[in-house]
């Protein structure tokens, strides 16, 4: 990567530092997150043990991807679900294109995995109409921006800006009251759910033993997206597989607590398409929910990451977002420190999964390696150690920032950097 690429990144980061709206929004978000998380974790002390057990099962899957992919595919098919496995983004998109076709109305649940595929752009390019239905993601989509936090995509957008945006869509002046703004989105999206042909979501977990898809949410948009349309498509990375249904429930408890919730409002556990046998015991698919359920598991670099004994850990990530709120840097940079995946944990994910090593290079040198995230990660992911490993790989791949190379060369030659 050339110096000018690093300079471009530097300018973006420096510009964000001057953005007072972002700073204020993030300060509020961090304070409120900490309070909620501490309360949620304190009220359910056994979650400490649960997270340890979950970590073991996560590692079991990461260390045996092929076995669990086979098992999951088998279970999904038993449940009358169309199951697919894809190695690459291109293969995944081809599968989706084949199911979706053109001229469809699509409602989506928030999914960073979908960002990995640039799915919205592709769906539109194929002649479909796409609506993000999570409020934050809806705001981001309407702004033609990209998510700035793993869990709270519009974390950096103040209410004034949302009001301006929604007023434009509504054709009338809306207030800056979050209640009114949420009400507008609810009204706007209501008929999109009922008239959509297809719902597309990610997954929080997919169980290998029962082929069940776990989705957790607070808004109710995922419930709509997964039941109202005729077809539901799930797109998930292979690291979302957990061995058993019990592990799935454990995951949903751990991720909720560490994301700062006593309990999430809604949990969907979907094991196959909607069906009824109420007329003469003849099985009919698509009773009230989708007639078809498609689950696409895709790799896109995850197996490669799993081969590296240090980077492997990063695949445990539950996307609770705690590390970002606790990071000294992220609240100042938001998702500009990132590509599709952000912050410290986003560094290995960018290098191995979405973006590649060149994109990861400036990101790897934005982490202070302070280790604070490790203290708060329910999966005990040692991000500083992983970042060190990524830096080593950047060196091997000749992707280091030029000035870092110069500094290291000086130490080698002179014995000291300055």
């Amino acid at each position: 990567m050339e110096q000018k690429e690093f300079n471009r990144y530097k300018r973006t980061i420096y510009k964000t530092l001057k953005d007072n709206f972002t700073r204020t929004a993030l300060r509020r978000a961090v304070t409120s997150f900490r309070g909620n998380r501490d309360k949620a974790v304190a009220k359910f002390p056994y979650v400490e043990d649960e997270k340890k057990k979950l970590m073991e099962t996560k590692d079991e899957v990461i260390n045996n991807f092929d076995k669990y992919i086979d098992q999951t595919m088998e279970s999904l098919k038993t449940q009358h679900t169309h199951a697919y496995y894809a190695d690459t983004v291109e293969e995944t998109l081809a599968i989706i294109k084949n199911i979706v076709g053109t001229g469809k109305r699509i409602v989506k649940g928030k999914s960073i995995t979908s960002e990995e595929l640039d799915l919205n752009e592709h769906l539109e390019e194929w002649g479909n109409e796409v609506y993000e239905t999570d409020l934050g993601e809806f705001i981001v989509q309407q702004l033609k921006s990209r998510p700035m936090h793993i869990l709270a995509p519009a974390v950096n957008i103040p209410r004034e800006k949302v009001s301006e945006l929604f007023s434009k869509i509504a054709g009338e002046q809306l207030s800056t009251d979050p209640t009114e703004l949420a009400k507008f989105a609810r009204k706007f999206l209501r008929d999109k759910f009922t008239t959509a042909d297809i719902g597309i979501t990610g997954a929080n977990a997919i169980t290998a033993d029962t082929g069940s898809v776990f989705l957790i949410e607070n808004e109710g948009n995922i419930g709509f997206s997964t039941t109202a349309p005729d077809v539901h498509i799930v797109v998930a990375g292979i690291e979302k597989i957990v061995p058993t249904l019990k592990d799935g429930t454990r995951l949903l408890e751990v991720v909720s607590r560490y994301a700062g919730y006593f309990a999430m409002s809604y949990v969907s556990i979907i094991s196959g398409p909607s069906k009824t046998g109420d007329i003469e015991k003849v099985t009919v698919y698509g009773a009230h929910g989708p007639r078809e359920l498609h689950v696409i598991l895709f790799d896109n670099g995850r197996k490669e990451a799993a081969k590296n004994p240090i980077v492997r850990q990063s695949l445990r990530c539950l996307r609770c977002g705690a590390c970002m709120y606790e990071c000294p840097v992220y609240p100042l940079t938001t998702g500009y420190w990132g590509y599709k995946y952000m912050g410290g944990i986003g560094i290995p994910w960018t290098a191995f999964v979405s973006g590649g090593f060149e994109k990861a290079a400036p990101l790897a040198f934005t982490c202070t390696l302070c280790g604070r995230c490790v203290e708060y990660c329910p999966m005990e992911i040692d991000t500083p150690k992983i970042v060190q490993e990524v830096r080593k790989l950047l060196k091997e791949k000749n992707c280091l920032p030029p000035f870092i190379k110069d500094m290291a060369d000086t130490v080698i030659k002179e014995g000291v950097p300055y």
Partner: protein, 233 residues
């Protein structure tokens, strides 16, 4: 015999170097200066040059092998010498002490005496590299400071929960304004509400970074040894 490992950042900052040498003189410590023309290797490790880091480490290990105890005032040198060398399979013979541990030891052995107390309210900033990133030196600096300042308070987020000053990981080399902004945010949002006169740390990177981040904040930044030296006057 004691070796004092200066480290590149302390060695090249007149204030920090002065504080260190003044302390050693006042304490009457006989020592061999080390780490003056040889770097501990941290920049190599942080830049991803792991093989070259090991080569550098071997050279440094040879130098520090001449003494029984190595004292350093740099939190980064400390972690490199005390933890990273071993992790890369290098057998480090001497005992490695951070300056805060060394001062504590001298006090415990009645080898130094404090005569004065600094009439200020201070907060101690835990450097990540003698805290979370190594064995967790949290008590020693606090014990010393409690003896030599009028009032010491802790950040709400302290010890293993302490937030980084922003100066680590080569970020200060790549994005200096970001590093300084992290320090500024810490001073504005964590130090000022405590109504302190001084923020102190025991790491040259934290010191330099907090100093720049403290501009116009009304909070003074002091090196740990600067306060110790004043108490020994």
């Amino acid at each position: 015999m004691i070796g004092v490992f200066y480290g590149c950042t302390t060695r090249s900052d007149e204030r920090l170097k002065g504080n260190l040498e003044k302390f050693l003189e006042k304490a009457g410590v006989e020592y061999i200066p080390m780490g003056v023309d040889i770097c501990c290797g941290a920049p190599l490790l942080l830049a991803g040059y792991q093989d070259e880091f090991v080569e550098q480490a071997k050279k440094v290990n040879e130098e520090i092998g001449k003494v029984d105890t190595v004292v350093t005032s740099c939190a980064h040198c400390y972690t490199i010498l005390s933890r990273e060398y071993e992790e890369f399979g290098i057998d480090v013979k001497p005992e490695i002490l951070h300056i805060t541990e060394f001062v504590k030891r001298l006090v415990d052995e009645n080898k130094i005496e404090f005569k004065k107390s600094l009439d200020k309210k201070i907060v101690y900033h835990d450097p990540c590299y003698i805290g979370r990133e190594s064995k967790g030196i949290y008590d020693e600096p606090r014990e010393i400071l409690d003896k030599i300042v009028r009032e010491r308070v802790d950040f709400e987020l302290a010890r293993e929960n302490s937030t980084c000053c922003g100066g680590g990981g080569l970020v200060r080399a790549f994005l200096p304004k970001l590093s300084i902004e992290v320090a500024k945010e810490k001073i504005d949002k964590q130090a000022k509400p405590l109504d302190v006169d001084v923020i102190t740390s025991a790491c040259p990177f934290c010191y330099q970074n907090l100093l720049e981040g403290s501009e116009n904040s009304g909070v003074e930044v002091m090196d740990f040894l600067e306060i110790v030296n004043q108490a020994m006057e």
